[in-house]
């Protein structure tokens, strides 16, 4: 009887399992295999083992893209998390103005990357852009943010933060609204100050969401592509070239599919390690 019951149980998970295997496991395995070959659009030439990986770690441009990607994640991830939390704390109110501001802050998230980068190029443009005009009005010299090696990546980070702040804010709002109201009432009766209430009641209560947001943001921001592609094309002097742009160019400009797949595996490993690390840390703290 139990064997028959087990067989029927498989039917319930089969639809998901099929999609999971076909859409995720198979492409992942194909990508891994591809990364060990010399391939182009016409097919696989030969199996090369780890040669693509050896070449990658000797490729200065690739190593720079790894550094760029890490810099970008460090610039955006923590800020998105903390700013999302801050906004959620301020806007977690029943008043109408808070609802309007919640909508406004979330609105940018629904825009496409093309629109967002277009808007922000107009902000950063030294000649007639918002910041340029403002600098001139204040008697300063306009700065060419996107042509400056030091400032281009922070400029992309600002654009990304503006674009992506809605998601962490909404996740934190949802978490805050799950905190039982009577905990705050008990804290008020216990003479807790605002700061004590925040640090001893609110933050511990939303700890899981905090780590969830960090993990989501790290995974998302490691995959930076559109903003860099549309705002700087990876320049100036590769200063804003992220790993995904490197993969794109290696695969679809230079037709080196095996090499691009190897770079993709490195990115996959980086995201996996970062996410696992966060997960481990959050589980240990939660225990």
């Amino acid at each position: 009887m139990s064997a028959r019951r087990d067989w029927r149980g498989v039917l319930f998970v089969a639809p998901y399992l099929t999609v999971f295997v076909v859409m995720l496991v198979v492409p992942l395995a194909m990508g891994m295999w591809l990364s060990t070959t010399k391939s182009d659009l016409f097919g696989t030439e030969r199996w090369v083992g780890l040669a693509n990986f050896v070449r990658l770690f000797g490729d200065a441009i690739f190593l720079q893209t790894v550094g760029n990607t890490f810099t970008f994640v460090l610039l955006t991830g923590p800020f998105l998390t903390l700013a999302g939390l801050g906004l959620a704390l301020v806007l977690n109110r029943p008043e109408r103005w808070a609802a309007v501001l919640r909508t406004i802050f979330f609105a940018s998230t629904v825009l496409s990357v093309t629109v967002v980068t277009l808007v922000w190029r107009l902000v950063f443009l030294p000649d007639g852009g918002l910041l340029g005009v403002t600098a001139e009005a204040l008697g300063g010299t306009p700065i060419a943010f996107l042509n400056n090696e030091k400032l281009a990546m922070p400029a992309i980070a600002v654009t990304t933060i503006w674009w992506c702040i809605g998601l962490p804010m909404v996740l934190f709002l949802a978490a805050l609204q799950q905190v039982p109201r009577d905990l705050y009432e008990a804290a008020a009766l216990d003479n807790a100050s605002r700061w004590t209430t925040l640090t001893r009641i609110t933050l511990p209560a939303i700890r899981r969401t905090f780590f969830l947001v960090i993990i989501i943001e790290v995974i998302l921001q490691f995959q930076l592509f559109g903003q860099a592609q549309l705002m700087t094309l990876g320049g100036p002097n590769n200063a804003t070239r992220p790993i995904v742009l490197f993969i794109y160019e290696a695969g679809w400009r230079q037709w080196e599919l095996g090499y691009a797949a190897a770079a993709a595996q490195v990115l996959f490993a980086m995201i996996l390690v970062a996410a696992m690390l966060q997960y481990r840390l959050s589980s240990r703290r939660a225990a």
């Binding site: 008020a188 807790a192 209560a205």
Partner: protein, 362 residues
């Protein structure tokens, strides 16, 4: 320990009045229960005393201090919440210490108070556990212990027993009564459960639609309900209410004529001729096989409770009445039975719902 004074306290949400200018004095050391149905405003009133709801009109005093303008933490009250509101990420010990630390009570005194409260509620073994590791009953005790360590002027308890199972509820009820006696503290307890109110209270405040229906000791409330609402809300099974015609009896008391023609002499002073509602508690209407039967009816439903039997009876005029019989009763549904009615225990309610009772003894 302090008394509480409410003077003309009112509260409205927009056009909806939830508490109508209400005045009440609670003596120091008294155990007062706010009793009423859902939505009567009893929890709101408690929360207004705690400072968790603002007061639109009137004043609240705790002891000699006016508190309605003070924040909750400055009122000297401790509250036990319906869902306990224990801080989930803090241990039991930290939960109890939280309020004291905020008041900058010295660490050694915090430890002493926690030890004393934990011993008193027998939760010493739980001090290092988190609330999530406790059963409902244990959480309840921790919530009470957290209130005790604050040594407040006033304890506020918002339906604290409603989440416990029946057996634990009875036990905790007893412990609360003992705790009150031991601490001698002023306690205000909110419930919709009349048994909790009757067993715990020095005085019960019966609330209805944001106003006070009656304030009195449990037996005053039960024996001399001021209104028909109070008579109906307190007592199980619900008081029998029968439309009657009133006339003066030979003793000067009211004589009630039931719909089926039965005449019942009451001890209620004659309030004037006219239609009224007769209130009879089930224990004053007894099944009888003898010739003391005041009226007869047909048993419809028989509820055997063990120590007594409740019989739902259809009278000749189509009205229904609940009577009591001995625990071991031979009555079966469909039986035609006689009813002996204790007219001396009868209540009368006029068209405005106001109660008329027999003259008080002495």
């Amino acid at each position: 320990m302090a008394g509480v004074g409410l003077a003309g306290v009112g509260k409205a949400y927009g056009a909806v009045t939830v508490i109508e200018r209400l005045s009440l004095e609670i003596a120091a050391g008294e155990f007062v229960v706010f009793l009423g149905p859902s939505g009567c405003g009893k929890s709101t009133l408690l929360r207004m005393i705690a400072g968790l709801e603002s007061v639109d009109t009137g004043e609240i005093h705790i002891g000699a201090r006016r508190v309605d303008t003070l924040p909750p933490g400055a009122r000297g009250v401790a509250m036990v919440f319906q869902h306990y509101a224990l801080y989930p990420h803090l241990s039991v010990r930290e939960n109890m210490a939280f309020g004291l630390r905020n008041l900058r009570v010295p660490a050694h005194e915090i430890a002493e108070r926690i030890a004393a409260a934990a011993a008193s509620l027998e939760i010493e073994a739980l001090l290092d556990r988190k609330p999530g590791q406790l059963s409902g009953g244990q959480r309840q005790r921790v919530a009470i212990a957290r209130a005790i360590v604050k040594q407040p002027d006033l304890f506020l308890l918002d339906e604290p027993l409603s989440n416990l199972d029946a057996a634990l509820r009875v036990r905790t009820r007893l412990e609360l009564a003992q705790l009150h006696r031991r601490l001698g503290a002023t306690m205000v307890f909110v419930t919709h459960d009349q048994v909790e109110a009757m067993t715990l209270a020095d005085r019960i405040v019966v609330l209805n639609a944001g106003g006070i229906e009656q304030v009195g000791t449990p037996m005053e409330i039960y024996l001399r309900p001021r209104t028909q609402f109070v008579a109906t809300f307190v007592g199980s099974p619900k008081i029998n209410l029968l439309p009657v015609a009133i006339e003066a009896g030979v003793t000067g008391n009211a004589r009630a004529r039931l719909g089926d023609g039965t005449v019942l002499d009451t001890d209620v002073p004659f309030p004037g001729q006219g239609p009224m509602t007769l209130g009879l508690r089930a224990e004053t209407v007894c099944v009888t096989a003898g010739d003391d039967a005041a009226t007869h009816g047909t048993a419809e439903v028989v509820e055997r409770l063990g120590e007594r039997t409740l019989v739902h009876i259809l009278l000749g005029d189509g009205t229904r009445i609940v009577a009591e019989d001995a625990g071991v009763s031979s009555v079966r549904p469909g039986d035609r039975i006689g009813l002996a009615i204790d007219g001396a225990a009868a209540h009368l309610f006029d068209a405005n719902g106001l109660g008329h009772h027999r003259a008080e003894a002495g």
